[in-house]
Amino acid sequence: MKSLLRCLILLFGLCIIGQWVHGEELLVVVHKDNGIEQLTKAQVVDIFMGRYITFPNGQKAKAYDLAPKSNDKAQFYKQLVNRSEAQINAYWARLLFSGRSSPPVTVDSPERLVEALAQSPQGIAYIPSHYMTDKLKVVYRFEAL
């Protein structure tokens, strides 16, 4: 029993450390007037991996991405599809240059991302939770690690 308890404490500790290593929670957000209320993880994958260029209701989707080498970007793609930024870049090179679809629009910082999204009813992006504003709406949250 004691060892089980020790294991649980250790596991809990690892979760805390994991959360800390991975940074804060990322939210997938859209403009507050967007007709979409919620997305499944598969639907988020469909949009960010260029498999569909519309939301499930058929409305056009415009995905935004953070600049290369940002920790939030790395965390987002790791949690979404378990791939590194280099893998994601090569993936998009394949899609773009086979003429299938175009990668998300890159924005320099989360601040700029929130500004861009607040003016784009078709937009969808991921942001660290403390950037959340009342002009945006959360459509997907990653389960706690």
Partner: protein, 399 residues
């Protein structure tokens, strides 16, 4: 809300390759010139520019120009993509214009070195298919979520033209009624692919094809097999069929990819073959170490036709002309045979976003009479081995 949107992007590779064999000249596709020097910067180097125009929510257009060391000097052949796309609903699209014949996994992005692990698409699998890559026509695609994965199905129809180099000579092929069917099921890390294609040879320009006329002129009572040899060698109306199966796994540290294919043809100049490869890679941070094995081999043994058995009454000039015709035709028939295996080791280093360096070593064993993936001038063939050493710098950019 309509929003016109133009985007310019591009890709390129600067590649150096060292070939340790001085009789077999390497090219990664028959549409590219083979280099006869040990070191070459031409085999893998290329540059591509793409324009994406989003016209409104349902219409968009793509144009792509790729400059490389092509055999053809026609400007039109540098246009890899030029199509309009219409998406009537979320799941369907129709494209009209020039698209890639999507026979195999890399067919659509074989020029984009940044997009794949290796120095180049595996020649055993891609050299033939990359040579007939541009299709002018129409295709229809459809996507749907199925059993937790995404199913993509596409059917294309059109025609194709290409100028080749092989055996140190040029030839040109026109294909019509090109049908390409592809289906792909993509899960989070796995993807499975099945494709089938058919094309009819409309015309083929090659000096050896003059032999067909010669064979057709031989009176059947002198040499009955001449007409069979002629019809087997005649390009027009020959049907080529491709079938391919592929699988990839790409997640976290491991990346795996394999494809097997079969090309069927009754044309004696391009005999049926099997090909395949398997590649495995492991990521260490920004570097991926990989190994590949690949093989290509004709389905049947070489084709031999019975030699003319002419009566002594046939005048000696005619007799020797027919004998020569037979020998040349027999040689031409088995010129395009393939039989080789390769083993490759390499590393891809993603040293900076959108920039990658690759080093690769290929050890290729070629069986006697199976050298058609190479350009060469000898007719006396023996088993041989080639080592290729490659260094490639590939990048992508957007303006």
């Amino acid at each position: 809300m309509a929003e016109a949107d133009l985007k310019v992007s591009g890709f390129g590779t600067l590649g150096g390759i060292y070939n340790d064999n001085d009789t077999l000249n390497f090219h990664r596709a028959f549409t590219l010139k083979a280099t006869d020097t040990a070191w070459s910067w031409k085999s893998d180097s290329l540059i591509g520019v793409q324009l994406n125009a989003s016209l409104d929510e349902k219409f968009d257009a793509v144009g792509q120009l790729v400059l490389k060391d092509r055999v053809s000097d026609r400007f039109n052949d540098n246009i890899e993509l030029l199509f309009m796309r219409y998406r009537p609903t979320r799941d369907w699209y129709v494209r009209l214009g020039r698209t890639h014949a999507e026979l195999y996994m890399l067919s659509e992005y074989r020029n984009v070195g940044y997009g794949y692990l290796w120095a180049r698409p595996i020649p055993e699998f891609y050299a033939f298919s990359s040579s007939i890559s541009q299709v002018d026509g129409v295709d229809v695609g459809f996507s749907r979520r199925v059993a937790g994965g995404l199913l993509d199905v596409k059917l294309g129809y059109g025609k194709s033209n290409a100028v080749f180099e092989g055996l140190n000579t040029q030839f040109e092929i026109d294909l019509e009624d090109v049908w390409v069917f592809t289906s792909q099921l993509t899960f989070e890390a796995w993807s499975l692919r099945l494709a089938a294609a058919q094309a009819e040879v409309d015309s083929f320009t090659f000096k050896a094809i003059g032999l067909v006329d010669g064979l057709n002129q031989v009176p059947s009572n002198l040499w009955p097999q001449a007409s069979t040899m002629a019809s087997d060698l005649t390009p027009e109306g020959q049907i080529l069929n491709y079938f391919a199966l592929g699988a990839t796994y790409d997640s976290d540290s491991w990346v795996f990819q394999s494809e097997i294919g079969y090309m069927h043809s009754d044309w004696s100049f391009l005999q049926s073959f099997y090909s395949g490869y398997a590649s495995i890679g492991y990521r260490f941070g920004d570097a991926t170490l990989y190994g590949v094995v690949a093989h290509i081999e004709n389905q049947n043994p070489p084709l031999y036709y019975q030699a003319p058995n002419l009566s002594p009454e046939v005048p000696p000039e005619l007799s020797s002309a027919i004998g020569e015709l037979y020998a040349e035709s027999q040689l031409a028939i088995n010129l395009n045979r393939v039989h080789q295996s390769s083993f490759s080791l390499g590393v891809r280093w993603d040293f900076y976003p959108n920039n990658t360096l690759k080093f690769q070593w290929d050890n290729i064993n070629i069986e006697e009479g199976g050298t058609a993936l190479w350009s060469h001038s000898f007719t006396q063939e023996i088993d041989t081995q080639v080592n290729l050493f490659s260094i490639n710098y590939s990048f992508i950019f957007s303006l």
